[in-house]
């Protein structure tokens, strides 16, 4: 298993040599969504607290790094961590409000939506953030500004982000924290009875998840170079993040990566294909249908399903 992982990583490191520039951009988006899905997975999958507001963390991280770079000249390489810290602070507030009363399921999901919407409305009404028109970053190609003249560096940065998040999630999974989170996810009352401080571990999970997602905001800002409150804080973006992990298999280490490799190319190609034909919206109908199919027929996600298939194959 470990060898397979190393070979795969080596393959991804060498891959750009044979890829066209367009294919590289697709892979960048795949890695980036896999990274966001993995960060979501820590609180949404392992801890089982469904968040539909992760876009708020991306947005806070993105705006923080972009405004710091614009107004104080702070390099995004540092701003990335400041943005992550700001997102983690927001995660602390949401987690405290939600977990203090043990809000679960729908209540917690709505709390995360509410905070993302508050962030969106505030951002759209502040002058410092560029208001509803958004914030645009001028392209300089300066590596100190997190910009590059080719897209190769962004390929490796996105790959690194994905691997870091996977490393963090893997670390959690193997340690006590992972066991506590699994216990809380499966039966919170029973784990409390056994002395697991569920509030504390859920807080740790959301803070780590928010920090990583906030770091991703810097990548978003300085790769796409434009921040619009309605897009970067929007519920559809949050759903896209959660969807990667859920389709792949939430609460599994490889689920979000598999989910992104399945969904991102699908989204990119169908968007390009249908949008040129004037059929905007068709790819989102397909998305909705996919979501329904996954819930009804593969509620655990694709990865656990594949693993079962492989397991059965080996036994027979």
């Amino acid at each position: 298993m470990r060898w397979a992982g190393l070979v795969l990583v080596a393959l991804l490191l060498a891959l750009p040599a044979i890829l066209s520039s367009y294919a590289i951009t697709i892979f960048i988006v795949i890695f980036f969504y896999a990274f966001l899905g993995q960060a979501w997975n820590i609180v949404g999958g392992y801890a089982g607290q469904l968040s539909i507001g992760h876009a708020a963390f991306v947005g806070v991280g993105a705006y923080t790094a972009a405004i710091l770079a614009r107004d104080t000249g702070l390099t995004p390489w540092v701003g990335m961590f400041v943005g992550g810290a700001c997102a983690a602070a927001l995660g602390t507030v949401i987690g405290y409000l939600g977990f203090r009363f043990g809000l679960r399921g729908f209540y917690f999901a709505l709390l995360t939506v509410a905070f993302a919407e508050i962030a969106r409305i505030v951002t759209a009404n502040l002058e410092a953030t560029g208001g509803a028109l958004g914030l645009y970053i001028t392209f300089t190609g300066d590596p100190r500004q997190f910009q590059f003249s080719s897209n190769l560096p962004h390929y490796y940065i996105a790959l690194a982000l994905m691997l870091v998040a996977t490393g963090v999630a893997g670390g959690i999974e193997r340690r006590r924290l992972g066991a506590y989170l699994a216990a809380i996810r499966d039966d919170e009352a029973a784990s409390e009875a056994l002395g697991v401080n569920s509030f504390r571990y859920k807080m740790i999970a959301i803070v780590i998840s928010a920090f990583l997602t906030g770091m991703g905001g810097t990548f978003y800002a300085f790769y796409f170079l434009s921040l619009q409150p309605n897009t970067v804080f929007g519920v559809p973006f949050s759903v896209e993040i959660a969807l990667r992990a859920i389709v792949g298999g939430s609460g599994t280490l490889l689920g979000p990566i598999l989910g992104s490799f399945l969904l991102t190319p699908l989204a990119e190609f169908s968007r390009a294909y249908f949008a040129t034909g004037g059929w905007t919206g068709v790819h989102l109908i397909a998305y909705g249908l996919l979501l329904i199919v996954v819930v009804l027929f593969l509620p655990q996600g694709v990865y656990p399903y594949l693993r079962r298939l492989v397991g059965e194959g080996q036994r027979s």
Binding site: G48, L50, I52, L97, G98, F101, L103, R104, G105, F106, Y107, A109, L110, L111, V113, A114, E117, I118, I121, V122, A124, N125, V235, V239, I246, W279, T280, G281, V282, L284, I285, Y287, G288, L289, L290, L291, I292, V294, V295, L296, P299
Partner: protein
């Protein structure tokens, strides 16, 4: 601040509150009966609006009459969605239900986008041009009609649940599913009817505002989120809570638009939500903590 301005805002808030109440009552009924949150609620509302538009353009039916037909069609949509999809996840985890309904919401919203396009629309009705003056305050006749009809529908729903045999069955299934099954209530059918009624409420609400509130396919999401806010503020599953919550949120938003700024009015209902979750997570009229 000018007292007339505040009075006008208060009046507008009350008038629009009827619609909020009707939306929230539909959501609350669905949740109360089968513990499923209809994340496609706002998109069903938008479909009510577009159906009103089609009826007005093709059959020259005024939305203030067409709303009956819209409610009927949305009842069918709700019943079908319940029977085909929701029924399979009634006993699943909340997360799965939310994801399923998000899927339905995506399909509904984008089907509207493909058919009707992204531009904001409004249904023409002669009522929108009429106003009544009450001293210094003016009342928009369209909004007044909407208010009266919405309140009448909410009261009718209440009487249906309280006084009739099918209504009794719905309440029985909501209170104790197993008990209802034991005394011979056809629970799957009750679920289907309850979901249909919930969808019909929000469909009627959509048709009733279509004459003065511009709408587009993307409007569904914020309508859903507003309905959730109201229902949590009022207390999940409580019809009285949904009704009062709708009026309260509408008045608060209307006053917020005057005191803060129109673009910040949405912030008011979210702030109310956060306050409720902080101090009284069961909601104003809810009986137990979630």
């Amino acid at each position: 601040m000018d007292p007339t301005l505040i009075g006008q805002a208060l009046l507008n808030g009350i008038l629009f509150g009827g619609v909020y109440s009707l939306m929230a009552v539909g959501l609350s009924l669905i949740f109360g009966v089968m513990r499923v949150v209809n994340f496609a609620h706002g998109d069903m509302m938008v479909w009510g609006m577009y159906l009103a538009l089609v009826l007005a353009e093709r059959a020259r039916l005024d939305p203030y009459l067409g709303f009956v037909l819209c409610a009927g069609l949305l009842f069918l949509l709700g019943a079908v969605v319940q029977r085909v999809l929701v029924d399979r996840v009634v006993d699943s985890a909340h997360e799965m239900q939310i994801l399923l309904m998000l899927g339905v919401a995506l399909v509904l919203e984008n089907t509207a986008l493909v058919i009707f396009g992204p531009d904001p629309q409004r249904v023409a009705s002669p009522l929108t041009t009429a106003t009544i003056w009450l001293g210094p305050l003016f009342v928009d006749v369209a909004r007044l009609t909407t208010f009266v009809v919405a309140i009448a529908l909410t009261i009718a729903l209440y009487l249906f649940l309280a006084r009739t045999r099918p209504g009794q069955m719905i309440r029985a299934a909501a209170d104790n599913t197993y008990g209802a099954l034991v005394v011979g209530v056809n629970v799957p059918r009750v679920y289907m009817v309850a979901f249909g009624i919930g969808a019909a409420c929000v469909g009627a609400a959509g048709a009733l505002v279509s004459a003065f509130l511009p709408f587009q396919p993307a409007s569904g999401l914020s309508a859903s989120v507003t309905s959730f806010n109201i229902v949590i503020i009022g207390g999940m599953g409580s019809l009285l809570g949904a009704f009062c919550g709708g009026l309260a949120v509408s008045i608060a938003e209307s006053l917020g638009a005057v005191f803060l700024s129109p673009s910040l009015k949405e912030l008011v209902s979210f702030s109310l939500l956060v306050l409720i979750l902080l101090f009284r997570p069961a909601g104003l009229f809810g009986r137990r903590t979630p």
